[in-house]
């Protein structure tokens, strides 16, 4: 468990594709460069989606964990 300071949290639990990344992209707009965003999701497809999204947008996927069916993505705005 890293003790990174999170600037904002997006709770996308229960949402299906493509809403987790849509909500993440919307939240990212409000952040400044190098700020941290944490995303919670339950969509199993989000594992590959967030890796792809990070490659497409240049925002860095710092950490990806899973606990009891909830995925947690820690992203840093580029």
């Amino acid at each position: 468990m890293t003790m990174t300071k999170v600037d904002q949290i997006v709770d996308a639990r229960g949402l299906a594709c493509p809403m987790p990344i849509v909500k993440t992209a919307q939240a990212m707009k409000g952040l400044a460069s190098s700020q941290m965003l944490e995303v919670l999701a339950t969509d199993a497809g989000s594992v590959r989606d967030f890796q792809a999204w990070s490659r497409s947008t240049g925002n860095v996927l710092i950490e990806m964990t899973e606990e009891a069916g909830t995925y947690r993505f820690l992203l840093q705005k580029k």
Binding site: G14, L15, A16, C17, P18, V22, Q26, W53, S56
Partner: protein, 188 residues
């Protein structure tokens, strides 16, 4: 006469020479990628992937334009506009296929509306966003929906009959320019 099928002697593989190392695409890094979708069908099961892909493109920082043509234009008719068209044939078409995002039919297993009702129920159960929610998300993500002028004339659909925020109506040449300029294009 005997025919002996003899396989041609295989040339020895001469692929030992090393191919030149591929130059990394530097340009792709700097230029914003683009996706263009031609939205033709207007059916529930095709509108859905069109909206999912376009909103995901917008969310991924990929520029996305959707050329909205033929049956694909009907879901883009604004709420409350029940009957589109100026003559009886255009009006009759609108009666046969009710315009608007909430009235899209399935391309298969429609069963007089039973199919879409079941799909919508399942989508609710599994928290899949509805076509309406997805359309709003796509527009919020900067996806541009460009209506086809010829379809508007053909079906008697005016600009004020369409939802807010659509792009300037355009024709085939504009669609071609969009598609050839994009990194990927789809016809749905």
């Amino acid at each position: 006469m005997t025919l002996v099928a003899e396989p041609p002697a295989l040339a020895p593989e001469q692929r030992t020479t090393t191919a030149p190392a591929l130059e990394p695409e530097v340009e792709a890094e700097t230029k914003t990628k683009e996706l263009v979708i031609v939205n033709w069908s207007g059916e529930f099961d095709r509108i859905l992937p069109m909206l999912i892909l376009s909103s995901a493109a917008g969310a991924s920082g990929v520029g996305c334009k959707v050329f909205v043509t033929f049956w694909g234009l009907l879901p883009f008719v604004r709420d409350g506009k029940r009957l589109t068209g100026e003559n009886w044939m255009q009006k009759m078409l609108a009666l046969m296929q009710r315009p608007g995002i909430d009235h899209v039919k399935l391309s298969k297993m429609n069963f007089m509306g039973m199919g879409p009702w079941m799909i919508r129920s399942l989508m609710k159960k599994y928290h899949v966003a509805s076509p309406r929610e997805l359309l709003e998300a796509a527009q919020a993500m900067g996806v541009e929906f460009v209506p086809c002028q010829m379809t508007m004339d053909l079906l008697g659909i005016r600009r004020e009959d369409l939802i807010e925020g659509m792009g300037e109506p355009a024709g085939a040449a504009a669609a071609i320019e969009m598609m050839t300029g994009a990194n990927a294009s789809l016809f749905i």
